[in-house]
């Protein structure tokens, strides 16, 4: 594991009496691509702004490279931000925009010129030096915003939904672009998004937030395959989240039927949440399934069919490349490895509100 670079300790922040961040702790390591992921209003931007120095936390400390920077103004911090709406300086041309930070730090002219060239090359906009920001497309302005930040060689780049305003195709292009950039310049990225697909594609480390709490942290695989609670499971990808009772180790009772599973240590007859990803629900002939049900809906999604199967009074969401017509009785079989058991939230406070999206 790389060296620790940023540590948020016990950060709380409220606006007008509303608690937005509640005793948040977070450690970010050097050279990581960290994504703060969560629904709108969960405090992602606020967290980023506290790291950038644009907000002061009510309690807690921000430690950067071993030093407490909680009260340091943004211009004294060794990090740069890429703002969501680019925030380019409209009265300057592209070269002047990129040179801004370097001029402030009194770098020699030849150094600045080299840096402008290098940065424009890096973001694929050579020859744009003397254009005005308003004459550039959204995607191009975003690249300039990135170029303007990275020429200062920050240790950390903060990006707040930098692709939010771009259309789908450009977004995907820019996602790869950003990953390439990150690998090329080798700095830490802290990235904010509410798009779970973007987070899964780009990150080394994902921090899932909801209502000012960190719900789960881990690699994209961890987060997707082993969500720790119903909120994370629901927010990351589609899933079937079902009330269940853990009968004993490796056996769970789902809606009255016992399913073998591989999880242990939850105790006996303990209420739990069960997550089964739609691609892990296998449709088989009725005699081969653990339970049987009836197909009630089917949509063709291109790569797969998305079906709803009613069984045990629950609508099971199923992704499959095989097609089963509406009305057909099918068997449902789930591999014990694909049944993810989660503790129910302990306190009302941490109650993760499932999203209806």
């Amino acid at each position: 594991m790389e060296k620790e670079l940023i540590r948020l300790e016990n950060i709380s922040k409220s606006f007008d009496g509303t608690l937005v961040l509640d005793e948040l702790d977070l450690v970010i390591h050097e050279n990581e691509f960290v994504t703060l992921l969560g629904p709108s209003g969960c405090g992602k931007t606020t967290t980023l702004r506290i790291i950038g120095g644009f907000e002061t936390p009510d309690t807690g400390r921000v430690i950067f490279d071993g030093k407490d920077i909680t009260d340091l103004p943004p211009n004294k911090r060794q990090l740069n931000t890429v703002f969501q709406k680019y925030a380019l300086f409209t009265h300057m041309d592209i070269a002047e925009n990129i040179a801004f930070g370097l001029k402030i730090h009194n770098k020699p002219k030849s150094y600045i010129d080299d840096k402008i060239k290098y940065a424009l090359k890096l973001v694929g906009l050579e020859g744009y030096e003397h254009r005005k920001p308003s004459s550039l497309s959204g995607g191009q302005q975003q690249r300039i915003a990135i170029a303007r930040a990275i020429v200062n060689e920050p240790k950390v780049l903060l990006l707040d939904e930098p692709l939010g305003a771009l259309d789908l195709k450009l977004r995907q292009e820019m996602q790869y672009e950003l990953i390439r950039l990150k690998n090329e310049i080798g700095i830490t990225f802290i990235y904010v998004t509410h798009d779970q697909e973007e987070a899964l594609t780009m990150s080394d480390h994902i921090v899932v937030m909801n209502q000012g709490y960190i719900q789960q942290e881990g690699s994209p695989e961890d987060i997707y395959n082993e969500p720790e609670n119903a909120f994370v499971a629901d927010f990351i990808g589609d899933s079937n989240i079902i009330d269940a009772v853990m009968v004993r180790d490796e056996l769970v009772n789902i809606l009255g039927t016992e399913f073998p599973c591989v999880d242990k240590g939850f105790g006996e007859m303990k209420p739990v949440d069960v997550v089964i990803r739609p691609e892990d629900v296998e449709l088989v002939s009725p005699d081969k399934g653990i339970i049987t049900g009836e197909v009630t809906h089917i949509i063709f999604k291109g790569v797969h069919y998305e079906m709803e199967v009613t069984a045990l009074g629950f609508e099971w969401l199923v992704h499959s490349t095989d097609m089963f017509p509406v009305g057909q009785t099918v068997g449902i079989w789930v591999d014990p490895y694909n049944i993810q058991i989660m503790n129910k939230p302990e306190s009302e406070d941490e109650e993760a509100i499932p999203l209806d999206v």
């Binding site: 950038g52 120095g53 211009n75 703002f83 300086f89 409209t90 009265h91 930070g101 402030i104 308003s134």
Partner: protein
Amino acid sequence: MFKNKKTSAALSAPYTAWMTIFIIVPLLMIFYYGLTDSQGSLTLANITAIGYGVYFKSLLLALWLSFLCTLICFILAYPLALILARVSKNAGQGLIITIFILPMWMNFLLRTYAWLTLLEGNGIINGILSFLHLPTQHMINTPTAIVFGMVYNFLPFMVLPLYNAISRIDTAVFEAARDLGAGRRQTLFRITLPLSVNGIISGVTMVFIPALTTFAISTLLGGSKVLLIGNVIESTFTQVYDWHLGSGLSIVLMIFIIINMIISNISDARQEAEG
């Protein structure tokens, strides 16, 4: 905007009539009188008169005092506009602006009379000074008094365009400057000022033009001791009854105003082009 030209012509008729009667016709008359002598023959004498004696002196003084007034207004108004733009909407921004505009609801002459009683030889300010055993000042009927009056009357015309321009700048732009290492002062000079240049130009125009042409303020606070070009033009009309000379001098003043407006139009057009 309108479906056919007829409707739009019909709708704009009252304005066209208004403009013709109250703007175009008087302008044409001024040009007629200004460019002719009492015999009705063409002459430039009324205009070149500005180069001589009291006319020249009063023009220079008016230019100097309105420059001072504009400068003082700018220095006072910019920090105020900055603060106004930063105060969030619910934290009484509207209230501050209202308090600021409130004096403008009072009659202009009344406001200026108030300054008279403040600045007079045995007025309120000197009263306070002598109460504090400080030497009293001769203030009324001096250029200083006129500048006081001008600044007081025209300051809101500077504040409002500045406030407008500054509050229109996306706050993320200031944050971007801070983020890139600029301190508060550098952000002010490299970002805020250049991005509000349009507000500055329209504020300057809106203060400089009325200050340059005023005769009411200089009559009240300058007595007959300090003559500005406005006073001189007024008296050529109302006391000397020389409409030709008065019009000629007005045309000269108009040239200054037009130059000022051209500058502000150019800056508007430039901003529009930059989006």
